[in-house]
Symmetry: C2
Subunit: 273 residues, 2 copies
């Protein structure tokens, strides 16, 4: 096999199996070559991929080591994407009766969600989460794509108390915006105790739901290593129930009171990746 074909093959294997560790021996066996030759191929791929920052090769030395492809996104690409997304949300006819913002179409569009997942993954990867936790329904795609980019499972908290998942932990919480008492629950089987969890959701208003998820995580002895939201509603800035979170877009502008969406690109600069 020509070197160029081998390099295409290795690139394909790594990129189509993100986050999966391949010992060098796997490639050496498959192509019947010395590990040193494979190692040279990998250096070539690694230095080339580092230029686009759309992901990078991580090399882990030692007997249990190998190489894996970690999906990522550059700050420039992320900034452009968020500004474009804010523009899309502003230009279309998206404010519904009651002041709700319609964005379900974007939240279920893989092209959009895939990039948002890469942004959250690039920001939160240094926190080394074991799982991404969200609550049904609209946060699921966002959480799933973030989990996919990080190579970890997603965990979905249910509203109410569903019976089909065995013994579960339920908590009551007060929705910060509607002030109603609600219930959320998670199956015991869904999350082992003592894990590091990243909470991801589509929207944060007063943060009652987010605070509820944090409380639920305490029941699983989990450490919450980050909270990420696609959008925050600035109307609730003064009385939000959680503080240490990150959001990529904001809805409303406290200075003008207009329902305008802005990209919070400074968040990307602060979390340089």
């Amino acid at each position: 096999m020509k070197r160029i074909d081998r390099i295409i093959a290795i690139t394909e294997i790594l990129l189509s199996h993100p986050n999966q560790l391949f010992p060098l021996g796997v490639f050496a066996d498959r192509f019947q070559l010395a590990k040193s030759t494979i190692s040279e191929d990998l250096m070539e791929i690694k230095s080339r991929l580092s230029l686009t920052k759309r992901g990078f090769l991580e090399t882990i030395p030692g007997a249990a080591g190998g190489v894996r492809y970690l999906p990522a996104i550059s700050e420039t690409e992320a900034t452009d994407f968020l500004e474009q997304l804010a523009q899309t949300l502003n230009t279309s006819d998206r404010i519904l009766p009651g002041g709700f913002l319609y964005m379900a179409d974007l939240l279920y569009d893989p092209k959009i969600i895939r990039i948002l997942g890469l942004i959250f993954a690039s920001i939160f990867r240094p926190k080394k989460p074991d799982a991404v936790v969200t609550i049904e329904t609209k946060g699921i795609p966002l959480a799933l794509m973030t989990a996919d980019s990080l190579g970890i499972p997603a965990v979905v908290v249910r509203h109410g108390n569903k019976v089909t998942e065995g013994s579960s932990v339920s908590i009551n919480y007060i929705s910060g915006s509607s002030k109603r008492i609600q219930t959320m629950s998670l199956a015991r089987k869904a999350l082992d105790t003592g894990k590091r969890v990243l909470i991801i959701d589509d929207f944060i208003k007063a943060g009652g739901t987010a605070k509820g998820i944090v409380s639920l995580m305490h029941e699983f002895d989990a450490e919450v290593v980050g909270l990420g939201f696609l959008m925050e509603d600035t109307l609730w800035n003064a009385c939000r129930l959680v503080t240490d979170y990150l959001s990529l877009l904001q809805y409303g502008d406290p200075s003008t009171d207009k329902p305008i969406i802005k990209a919070k690109t400074h968040v990307l600069r602060q979390n340089e990746f």
Copy 2:
């Protein structure tokens, strides 16, 4: 730039932007080369990728043409994966009180769902769907990954009648297994009329929910081009409310009445890809 670096760069761009059409001019401009040289590079990549069948390059001729990477999976890899998945479902302690099968952990694990999405995409791509439709909650990751592999949006039907998405269409349906009257709804904005839709969900028992989604699709003048389920419950084989569907696993064995999970690998052979 060396040819080998250029080929790695092109492979990376194509694989990290699945389903996106790149005119040859994009690469010619970026690398300051003639289109004929780029074309030779693409032939090299195309023939190499065709060997693993984990995806393939599609070349579209003409002025509006270009090249795109379509994710896929080989029948062999899909067969092995489904047999392994059935084994996982059989060996663990997954039968819950009430006879429910616990599989939420697998349904939210990107490593599992990504492959299942590739399998559904490989099977249903020839039907040329415009959107993948599912109903909340557990079918969402499956639908999303299928949509991602096909490069089309997902659409999520809601239980009940949620108020935050503008005017919507609701239908009542009778759950085939519980015989209760239920409601499902979809925002008018969520799906344009006259589309070709693929329905994807995690589980089919009597098929009342599936039949409900098909009825709802008629309200959007949509053509249902396929129905795919991860698992069917064989208990309802004799009286299922939908017939023209496909499932990858089966729960229960009519001949022995045991709660065993089997991979329906003949489905893969029948839908050769």
